[in-house]
Symmetry: C2
């Protein structure tokens, strides 16, 4: 077992929790040598001698073999991570946006400089999903990966459906509870779970998918009518990221979905996340854990550090095996579309219409639509239009 | 990646499923060379040339590098596994009884002959719990591991609480559904989940625990009164195996438990299993998957075979780190004890009594009792006495 010398970038909640636990555990042989921060004037709970404001003090120190990147800014994070890998250092990060956008480069850097890059904390915080996809579901029998990948929106939806809060109140509560990202639109508009989906697409099915290739639609337009409609169907609404493989084609999207009150998804409350893996042989495998907050993310970072002590690295086995391609082209979904005025939505975009409703102030259509048609629909830009996937399965 | 040549012992459902999937997947490079069976006269779905009745045809064939042991008999299974390991072959097994009883020997054989032995299928079938304990929760921050480890009894309890079946009818249904072990008392009296607990105790906390050290009590004595009592408390009954670490002491037992109808455990239905890991940093981590049946077990066996292609072996990291000891001595639990006649149970065995009830045909006590006192209580042998743990937590 290797003894690690660590340099950390950022000393927010996750960094502080990590400091504490690394000093408590006997199981991991790792010392933190230096912590690089932006604001040296801030009060810190530990000796100021541990800090530096100079990235080179970590990145160019040959004694430091592991860099833990825990800053918010995706661009700056990529600079740190790529420079560390180029210097042959192992890197741990939980920065999903940075990773989702830069996966091909990060993949190449790891190979070129033979330096491991681990990022379990980037997907569903405490749930060990990347590691399980890499190591346990490493054959080609996996058919679908989906779940509740965003703690903030799940917290908001729980408060709406269980405590009858309205959307703005629920959002404020998520923010004061410390769950929301600094930019709440990343959560609300489902960018955050989409980034995670892009990362999991590589580890589950071996495809590099740029975030712009994946359709995402959030929960910001859910109104009273939608909530009443969900309840009338015995459902709640959850924000679900979904991807699946059919033959050599992989597809994926991130949409709100009606789920029955008795379903496993409805049982996932507040900041918890859930991942559902379907495979040919094991059928449904369901993982539940805290998906937001400093301690759950810290636990994932800690396990990555621990893995580095025995020289672990991702092998991207599916990518090596696969030759699958990502395309949403032939995918169709069942969809509820709620709008206000006639002609605000084009019914001709639907392949089939199952239900239609109109009243003075609200109309809706439930029908089957091609995902690429939906993605291109101009009416979807209208803030008075909302969509929810018509529950596909439990 | 290594190309494996496999010999299989046993060709029941799991073996047949494995045959099928190994021929379908591109991800695993493995060929089945020989299958050893007991009854050559049976009709088989594949070419008879694949079969042998001579164990040596597999165990002494230097071309075969992996032995997959899928027979029922624990003693014969140990002979096969130990001989294979001595011959330097990698071994995969799902035989929980054999493994639980023989863990120290199996551990030593692996080290002595440098041959890996993997047995993910032995614990909770499709849930990758051993692998996660080994690789992901490999530091000393884990505090407790518990869950529903037996699919048959969970199936029976689900039918009792959700479909109002009586015990014998529910048991017969489990048997005809193909879930029950050949000896149903292994399930009903909670030996099967105890074996799994013994295996997980080593991978979670680094302690070798003989099955006889662990207290188990099953669901065979649950009667109408107990069921009505559970319902009156808004609860169902689940059979829960539980172990935890406190300082350097590890404790564990397997008991029926009242769980609230709204709890996650109550949501685990039929043959599904669940594992709940608590750790200092990640808090609760919950895994759900099918815990009985040929395909879920087959999926675990398959993942073990797949892991062997990249030279995976268990490192028993906690055992190397730990120095913890197993002891139930200071453990106390809250317990419901139901009985028929006065003095059938000794109230003096309780440290504290919270509730007492008596009617003409049924009496119960709810109170706090030391686990070692309970284990030694003579009244517990009386078939008219039943116990259920008073729900400890969600």
């Amino acid at each position: 077992m290797k003894n690690l010398t660590i340099g950390i970038f950022g000393f927010g909640c996750v960094g502080q929790g990590l400091w504490k636990v690394l000093h408590e555990t006997r199981g991991i042989h790792a010392d933190i040598k230096k912590i690089c921060i932006k604001h040296p004037e801030k009060q810190r709970p530990i000796d100021p001698g541990h800090f530096t404001t100079d990235p080179a003090a970590i990145l160019e120190d040959p004694e430091i073999d592991v860099v833990v990147e825990l800053i918010d800014d995706a661009e700056a994070a990529f600079e740190i991570v790529s420079r560390a890998l180029r210097n042959g250092k192992a890197v741990v990060s939980a920065n999903k946006k940075m990773i989702a956008y830069r996966l091909p480069e990060l993949y190449n850097l790891q190979h070129q400089y033979d330096a491991p890059f681990l990022y379990e904390g980037s997907c569903c915080a405490s749930i060990p999903i990347i590691r399980n996809l890499e190591e346990y579901y490493d054959n080609d029998l996996l058919t679908s990966v989906e779940g509740i990948f965003n703690g903030t929106t799940n917290f908001i939806l729980t408060k709406i459906f269980e405590e009858n809060l309205d959307f703005p109140t629920a959002l404020r509560l998520a923010q004061t509870s410390g769950f929301a990202e600094s930019d709440p639109s990343l959560d609300i508009e489902a960018y955050d779970p989409k980034y995670k989906l892009c990362i999991l697409l590589l580890h589950a099915f071996g495809v590099f998918v740029h975030p712009e290739q994946v359709f995402n639609f959030g929960i910001g337009r859910i109104n009273d009518f939608d909530i009443r409609f969900a309840r009338s169907q015995g459902c709640e609404i959850k924000l679900i990221a979904h991807c699946y493989k059919s033959g050599d084609r992989v597809s994926g999207y991130c949409l709100p979905r009606f789920v029955p009150k008795s379903s496993r998804y409805a049982g996932i409350k507040n900041e918890y996340n859930a991942v559902d893996l379907e495979s040919a042989f094991a059928e449904s495998q369901f993982f539940i854990g805290k998906g937001a907050g400093d301690r759950p993310t810290g636990s994932a970072v800690l396990s990555d550090i621990s893995a580095l002590t025995y020289h672990y690295k991702y092998e991207y086995k599916k990518y090596a095996q696969n030759g699958a391609t990502f395309s949403n082209e032939p995918t169709t979904i069942d969809l509820y579309v709620r709008f206000g005025r006639e002609n605000q939505v084009n019914p001709g975009d639907f392949l089939e219409i199952y239900e239609q409703y109109s009243a003075r102030n609200a109309r809706y259509i439930v029908g089957k639509i091609a995902l690429d048609k939906l993605q291109a629909a101009v009416w979807l830009n209208d803030p008075e239009v909302n969509i929810v996937q018509w529950g596909q399965r439990d």
